[in-house]
Assembly symmetry: C2
Homo-oligomer: 435 residues x 2
């Protein structure tokens, strides 16, 4: 790229599938990325934007003139269009809409009624519908005329009020004779999805039922559109990544190759939050300064208890967060789960209390305080592991009650608790013995 | 369930789809789970086993007699069958195989040639193949006779040596006239997958191309089978979960409701590894015991620097691990990424060094050592943030060279580094000033 063979690169870019161009842009540092983007043909920009992650897409969209953007977005599927337009500032959005054809405008407005993270926001409007009383032959001729949208595996059967009666798979259309009526092939046991259903529940249904597509209906059972597996795959990927990234204080839409300054600004916030929590822990140590003055060994042993409590708590927290997002952990079994995790923490607490206590005793056996140090650290270990695990098991449920994201705030709150309790119990026990 | 209405529960269980029964079993504590499993009808056990996660499935399979298992597994798709049988101990495997029909036995043996995490291990053998010179009418009659397997969106066209020529979608079969030849509808630009391709690359291709299915071929281009999106969704889910769970020292197949003892045993290992690393950090503090004796304030400030370095490093580590698994981070751009992350760490290092230094100065302003404490902690902060971020950016690449899993071992190694460097720099700078 640096060698300046622009013509050659432009040709290659415009022969690659849009998803590959998007992948290339996502894998490029900012300077190369902007250069590559300029080499893309205008009529392919819409398709490529569609495959880009939110942050990079918004970056490019912000630079485009509204009429240019409207032109680039022509021909996109309506759910993808709504995704892109839904994130624009009001004024740009109105300008882009004004540059679009009336038909497209109506479609986008219909799609934007539903929030992005619901079934309505995921759905496409390109359903093919037929009536129950027509023959396979008529359907075939109709499809030949109209064409089939991508990833269509079923067509839908509706009554005169657009209410969904069921689905007919392409497979059954092919394997039946021409004179058969659609209603004889009708599968009326098809999984229908309410437009207001949250996207993650939609994903769970698709995963559990191995669906390729599903019809979306309103409260009255009228067919609104369909959701296809390729959109659901994105939801599954994003949801699973969300937990991973949030636990490190990152956003799943974060661009790996974002410029230094914007990365630094975002990370600074998370470091600042962490500083506040560790200052609380430092204050706790401050309470016991006089004890440390007497027994300096405490300063050496100090990091062990909070660290072990943090690790044990984080394991439980991760397990419960994953359990909730898979739908395994629900109100009915959470009490059992908390009791089980407490059982695990008692066993490990005692095990590692004995191990660390023994180790401490022999490490500081030259000191007269060695037995008391061993007992202090052992006792603190048991308490902190139980507290950490209890916090790990209950925090996700509590945070969700307050509509907070357990993956984002759970880890910070947890380690604050295990740090404070860890320092307080170790130094507290020691103070009881030595002061 | 406790009320003993077994008949009622049994009826409900056997009316639910197998995937829902599997979900119910996964969400139940061990006692209820074993009870529910006993109430499932034998002929449904195979389907349900197929939907269960590895750990719970193995638990049930271990309890089943080989003939019983062979009977339960009848009718499963061959890739699923191979998954289950591939994990059995040799002796049980041979017994189960002996109880199966000869045809099934051959299919399983063919599927077990390829490791589970390759395209060959994911593929199904239920492809429908036709020759190029037949008409749509003939194909339709053939399909009517033979039936179409689930989630079929394309049939494949092969030559007389079984070499793949291309695919014909069901959609194009429906929308074309009966007398058209298959070769006229042939898409010869179909994405073919080599049987030896790793499963995560298969998943990336499916995601990027929005595929529903793809043909699997051997080195000579002969059609071996096909991969369908439902199997790929499982790969995507597992891969994304793998990073999340590994970073907490858990296995993505871990059962949330495992019994207390088996959970405690597994977690103990991770806590033991963590104890070793924190003991290393404690040894570093021990080196500077005499300095702490002179300035006890150091014991209070001690946790701040390692904590901030650990957080900054973990953010980078998580970003890079995700980038690698998405295929964004490759050899060509890793140098740019490391430089960028170092830039971020320098900015944040200086920012938080000034903040923490100022804070320390005013916190301990009554002490004569306050200015020197502020300088020590600020200097340590800059060094540790840079070291932490550098380790976070380079560790995943180094660990992969040694075939180690960065998500599993990366976090432990990283925090050991940030703990050691954090304590060493803070206490080291302080010692230079005060001793």
């Amino acid at each position: 790229l640096d060698s300046g063979m622009f013509v050659h690169v432009r040709m290659m870019l415009n022969e690659m599938p849009p998803s590959d161009v998007a992948h290339l842009l996502e894998s490029s540092p900012p300077r190369a990325r902007n250069l590559l983007w300029k080499l893309v043909n205008v009529e392919r920009e819409g398709d490529i934007l569609n495959y880009l992650n939110d942050e990079i897409r918004n970056h490019f969209v912000d630079q485009m003139a509204p009429e240019h953007l409207a032109q680039a977005l022509e021909g996109l599927e309506v759910d993808d269009l709504a995704d892109i337009l839904g994130e624009l500032p009001e004024s740009v959005y109105l300008e882009v809409m004004a540059s679009m054809s009336e038909q497209d405008r109506h479609r986008v407005e219909a799609a934007l009624i539903f929030p992005e993270d619901t079934a309505g926001g995921l759905m496409n409007l390109d359903t093919i519908t037929v009536r129950p009383k027509v023959t396979v032959d008529v359907v075939s001729r109709y499809l030949r005329m109209k064409g089939l949208p991508d990833t269509t595996d079923s067509i839908y059967v509706v009554d005169t009020h657009d209410r969904l009666l069921g689905a007919v798979s392409l497979a059954s259309l092919i394997t039946s004779r021409q004179e058969v009526l659609v209603e004889e092939l009708l599968n009326d046991n098809v999984e229908t999805i309410l437009a207001t259903m949250p996207a993650n529940e939609v994903a769970q249904i698709f995963e559990r039922r191995d669906l390729l597509s599903a019809p979306v209906v309103d409260e009255e059972g009228r067919l609104l559109g369909r959701i296809t597996i390729d959109d659901v795959v994105d939801v599954i990927r994003e949801e699973a990544e969300h937990s991973l990234m949030s636990m490190a204080g990152l956003d799943e839409a974060d661009d790996t190759f974002a410029p230094v300054w914007s990365s630094a600004r975002r990370r600074a916030i998370w470091l600042g939050i962490n500083l506040l929590t560790v200052l609380v822990a430092a204050q706790v140590i401050g309470i016991f300064e006089s004890t440390i003055q007497v027994v300096t060994a405490l300063a050496i042993l100090q990091p062990i208890v909070p660290s072990m409590g943090g690790v044990a708590g984080t394991q439980t927290l991760t397990l419960v967060i994953r359990g909730i997002s898979l739908g395994h952990v629900v109100a009915g079994n959470s009490r059992w789960l908390i009791m089980k995790e407490l059982g695990v923490s008692v066993i490990n607490g005692i095990l590692w209390a004995v191990a660390v206590g023994t180790l401490t005793y022999f490490w500081f056996q030259d000191l007269p305080q060695a037995p008391m140090l061993a007992i202090s650290i052992g006792g603190a270990m048991v308490v902190n592991l139980i507290v950490g695990v209890f916090a790990g098991a209950t925090l996700p449920m509590i945070l969700r009650k307050f509509n907070m994201d357990p993956a984002l705030s759970g880890g910070v709150i947890l380690t604050t608790i295990t740090d404070v309790v860890g320092f307080f119990t170790l130094l507290g026990f020691a103070t009881l013995f030595f002061v």
